[in-house]
């Protein structure tokens, strides 16, 4: 993942977002991290990026960490909208959620998520899980959203 790629994080819990940011930083990721507290804002941002407008700037490469726990319907709806769009579907979506449920895991993979991760209850374990996600993302190549 090149340094100009963007990490978009849709996370309703401010403390969880801080843990995610720390974990990514500990993985040595210095990419721009943009935070949204709900799925609607996230979709607005991604569609602006897709259309080359708004605040996304020059970079058109992006990965999304998406919480589907608190607002399940909106989270799944966002995943579906992204994966049904010819252009946005190229964005890898990592589900980060407190929900450890077989049917939700199936559903998210059927819709096309790249990975489903259950947030560990302990903050330190959660941060370490994000650090390992970040280390892996550092070797991932992304496709441009255009």
């Amino acid at each position: 993942m090149r340094k100009d790629s963007i990490v978009a994080v849709c996370e309703g819990n401010a403390e969880h977002f801080n843990v995610i940011r720390r974990g990514l930083f500990r993985a040595g990721m210095h990419n721009e991290v943009v935070h949204f507290s709900d799925a609607g804002q996230t979709l607005d941002y991604l569609f602006e990026m897709r259309n080359g407008e708004g605040t996304a700037g020059e970079s058109r490469k992006c990965i999304l960490l998406l919480d589907v726990g608190v607002d399940r319907m909106n989270g799944l709806g966002a995943l579906e909208k992204i994966k049904c769009d010819d252009i946005l579907s190229k964005i890898p979506v990592i589900i980060l959620t407190v929900v450890d449920d077989v049917s939700l895991i199936e559903q998210c993979h059927e819709l096309g998520c790249s990975t489903y991760v259950v947030k560990p209850a302990q903050a330190r374990a959660f941060e370490d899980a994000v650090r390992r996600i970040g280390l892996f993302l550092s070797v991932v190549e992304l496709a441009s959203i255009e």
């Binding site: 190229k90 199936e106 374990a125 992304l142 496709a143």
Partner: protein, 146 residues
């Protein structure tokens, strides 16, 4: 979780297996040296109830392979109603932007370019292994009643 590796280069396979093993010691690893064999395995697994005990797979997929190339393997897996849930990570020397784009369009989860440098290759696979061995990661079963 079973890690399937479709890789025709014996040297690359040894490097991948060795470095995955360092981080994923509890995972089974199965090698395929061409695209047809991996398709036979997965489609047989699906139709003959090979995976009726609920096997979870992740596929590491090279692109340039004999018989059937990685792109065609990805296309066939992602066109299948049950197999499409399998996370497919492209692991290839090919770094052309068009190929990256095509693989994401077909539905790969991630695209990783094998570093030419030996030590960077090892480090990349170890990052991948640390990611795949995340206890919090959930992968769907492919049996689905098949």
């Amino acid at each position: 979780m079973v890690i399937l590796i479709a890789e025709d280069n014996a040297g690359h396979f040894q490097l991948i297996r060795k470095n995955l093993w360092l981080t994923c010691v509890d995972k089974d690893i199965v090698q395929f040296t061409n695209g047809q064999d991996v398709l036979d395995f997965l489609f047989n697994a699906q139709t003959k109830g090979h995976s009726s005990d609920g096997k979870e797979y992740v596929l590491l997929l090279d692109i340039r392979m004999p018989k059937v190339d990685g792109l065609e393997v990805l296309r066939k897996i992602k066109a299948d109603k049950l197999l499409r849930k399998i996370p497919v990570i492209m692991l290839t020397t090919t770094s052309e932007a068009d190929m990256v784009k095509q693989c994401y369009e077909l539905g790969c989860s991630y695209y990783v370019v094998k570093p030419v440098d030996y030590h960077r290759f090892m480090a990349a696979v170890q990052n991948l292994g640390a990611f795949l061995s995340l206890e919090a990661m959930r992968v769907p079963c492919v049996s689905g009643g098949g």
